[in-house]
């Protein structure tokens, strides 16, 4: 594999992104003032109200359908924009992983 091939390899790009993210996060952490976790600091923001629970049942009737179509849209977008030279099994693998994720999410 050539040097350019190694640099542009998805695994290298992924690792570089991870390192970049880690540097940004560490820098932000070092620069940020010390957080004071007093009172309602860690509570869910609810316009000043004191929420006792942290989660609420959602009541959107078509939420599941909308979420499935969102996932399908993302899968279609990713597969549609994969370069033509990419290996077929990569695209097929992504599709299978996406579909398995949908099944796991909505198996109940």
């Amino acid at each position: 594999m050539t040097a350019a091939g190694i640099i542009y390899h998805p695994v290298t790009a992924f690792l570089l992104c991870m390192v970049g993210g880690w540097v940004l996060y560490t820098l932000g952490r070092a620069l940020a003032p010390v957080t004071r976790t007093v009172g309602g600091k860690l509570k869910t923001y609810a316009c000043g109200e004191n929420l006792e629970q942290d989660s609420f049942p959602n009541a959107y009737d078509l939420f599941h359908a909308a979420f499935i179509f969102t996932l399908l849209d993302v899968i279609a977008l990713v597969i549609g924009t994969v370069p033509a030279t990419a290996m077929l099994w990569l695209k097929a693998g992504y599709l299978v992983v996406g579909l398995v994720a949908i099944v796991i999410l909505f198996k109940d």
Partner: protein, 183 residues
């Protein structure tokens, strides 16, 4: 070096969150006037933000009532550090004209610490802009220059008050007068 970078970044993009503690809406309208193109605080990077979680400056209007006090404190606690509070309007400064109503605790500083007081009923948008600028001047040289220019060309006495000045005024208001003459 890093400190200068942080100060520069903070001074260039102060996000403000508006909180109505119990105002009549007069001062709220003036805050909008200060942000929109005529006075245009946004040209200094000031951005009106919906959530205090993302805000650096809390623009608080109105007196603090018994009902809102805990909520004001909670919202202040939920802001990111470092945080500043600008109280806008005479209600926010002292609770007047509603103080000492049975349900009014006083100005915004009855609940949380305040950095700049902008009096007026309602507060003038140029005074609000000046108050925010004065706050920014501690972080940003462009705002510092603007403040100096404003102070050189206009009479800014009484437009805003710093916490020490408010303290002095309160103390002098409590000082008894000379009293009746003995003769």
């Amino acid at each position: 070096m890093l400190d200068r970078l942080v100060r520069w970044a903070r001074g260039k993009s102060p996000w403000v969150c508006h909180l109505n503690c119990g105002s009549c809406n007069g001062c709220d309208i003036e805050i909008l006037a200060a942000l929109t193109p005529r006075f245009d605080l946004e040209r200094l990077g000031v951005l009106l933000e919906g959530s205090p979680r993302h805000a650096d400056v809390l623009l608080a209007t109105g007196p603090v009532t018994r009902q809102i006090k805990d909520r004001v404190v909670r919202i202040y606690e939920q802001m990111a550090e470092p945080k500043f509070v600008v109280c806008v309007g005479t209600c926010g400064v002292s609770g007047s004209p509603f103080y000492p109503g049975y349900n009014v605790l006083g100005g915004v500083d009855a609940a949380i610490p305040v950095d700049i007081y902008v009096p007026g009923c309602p507060a003038r948008p140029d005074a609000i802009a000046y108050g925010v600028l004065k706050l920014l001047a501690t972080l940003n040289s462009q705002a510092q220059e603007l403040v100096e220019e404003i102070e050189a060309t206009r009479d800014t006495v009484g437009l805003i008050y710093m916490p020490e000045e408010i303290e002095e005024q309160r103390e002098s208001a409590q000082t008894p007068g000379p009293g009746p003459s003995e003769n």
